[in-house]
Structures are given as C-alpha cells and as structure tokens.
C-alpha cells in the first residue's frame, strides 16, 4: 500500500531532534514571556520606517524593531511537529496507515474538546496563553496517541 504525502522515515529522527529542544524553549517562552529573549535575535532598523504595507500594525515589511526569539521557536516547533507526525514508519503498511488516520481524528477530537472547555472556563490572559498552546496541540496529541499505540502493539505478545 503506497502512502504518499509522507516524509522519508529518517525525517522522524530529525523531527524528534527539533521537537524536544524547541518544546522546552517554547515552554520557557510561554512562562517567562518577554524576559526570555535571545539578544542576537534582536532587530532594530534604527528609524521607524514607512513600510511597503504600512497600514497600521507591524508586518514583515514595515517592522522597525523586533526580537525574533518567538518566531524562531515557533518555526522550529512547527517543523519538528510536522516531521515527527508525518514521516514514514520503518515498515509502512496498511495497519500503520489506518492507525495514523485514527490517531489524527482522535487528536482533533481531544483538541476540540479541550478548546471547548477553555472557551467556557478560561478568561483574559490565561485564555490567550491556551490559544497559543492550541496552535500546536492537535499535532502533539496526534503524535502521543500514534506512538503510544505503536509502542503498545510492539510490546504485546513479543514472545509469540
């Protein structure tokens, strides 16, 4: 069974190597917010330029100053998640394809239920923090569920 739209299996290792450090950085950034920034990612154009798309808020083309720590962390995290989630297994077959689809649905369900709960129970600053988390949690739940079942099935009945 040919599964298209998946990365080669070596990308899974690359995914984990990105995912673990960037998850830790992401947690630090979420907890310490503005105080957790790397100075070498500072950008300052010197003068507040009239940008190409200057219709108010900062965009890439009219930025006068920014620290890119959060952008770098987000990009690293997203790439890590995508590679970890959508790489081929060493042995790719119809069962892993089904498990992947089931887990994706499970992940979306869990994420949506938590989203619903946070809409009802969380307000103000905390709500926005959970919304930031929510950008990544669908894939995180998917990865946890998919790899847990793979691991569990690998450990049952190994002797037989």
């Amino acid at each position: 069974m040919e599964t298209k739209l998946l990365f080669p299996s070596r990308f899974k290792k690359i995914g984990w190597l990105l995912l673990i450090p960037f998850t830790l950085l992401g947690i630090m950034k979420l907890f310490y917010s503005d105080s957790f920034e790397f100075d070498f990612l500072d950008y300052d154009s010197g003068n507040p330029v009239k940008g190409f798309f200057n219709k108010g808020g900062d965009t890439l083309f009219n930025l006068s100053s920014n620290n890119f720590t959060d952008e770098i962390i987000s990009i690293g995290l997203i790439l890590g998640l995508i590679f970890t989630a959508f790489s081929k297994e060493k042995i790719e077959d119809e069962w892993t394809a089904k498990l992947r689809l089931d887990s994706l649905m499970w992940g979306v369900y869990v994420n949506t239920i938590l989203l619903l709960l946070s809409v009802v129970f969380l307000y103000g600053e905390l709500f926005w923090q959970v919304m930031i988390l929510n950008l990544f949690t669908t894939l995180i739940f998917f990865i946890i569920r998919f790899n847990f079942i793979l691991w569990k099935e690998n450990n049952t009945d190994k002797a037989s």
Binding site: M1, E89, D93, E94, W95, T96, K98, E153, T156
Partner: protein, 66 residues
C-alpha cells in the same frame, strides 16, 4: 470476524515476526490481526493465506455479528 492465525502459525512453527516478513508488513500489523483488533485488507488476507497454502476462508471466518 474470527481467525485461525495463531493455530496456523503454530502448525507451521513461525513467529509473528516471521509471518510479518513473509507478507511484508509490520509485526504490529500481524499482532493486531491475530488479536482481532484489525481486519486486514483483501490483499493482505490473500497473502497470508498464500503463506499457509490455504484458502482465505480456512483462516478468516465470518461471524454472525459481521
């Protein structure tokens, strides 16, 4: 759907991993089929039957609830 996979394997004296190699799927796949958690595709069922030199119906049996 029931299956005789475990018995057939015992007769032929091969492990789940051996069978998985023969039909080119993961060992987890064979385990999931054997424990009734996963219904294999027609192609996989035919391949498994081929390994044991039997008909698909001899290995996979429909139940009333199916």
């Amino acid at each position: 759907m029931k299956n005789n996979l475990k018995i057939e394997r015992a007769i032929k004296n091969i492990t789940q991993a051996d069978l998985a190699d023969l039909v080119k799927v993961s060992r987890q796949n064979i385990n999931a089929v054997e424990t009734g958690k996963y219904v294999p595709s027609t192609v996989l069922a035919l391949k498994i039957a081929q390994v044991f030199g039997k008909k698909v119906e001899d290995i996979f049996i429909l139940e009333e609830t199916d």
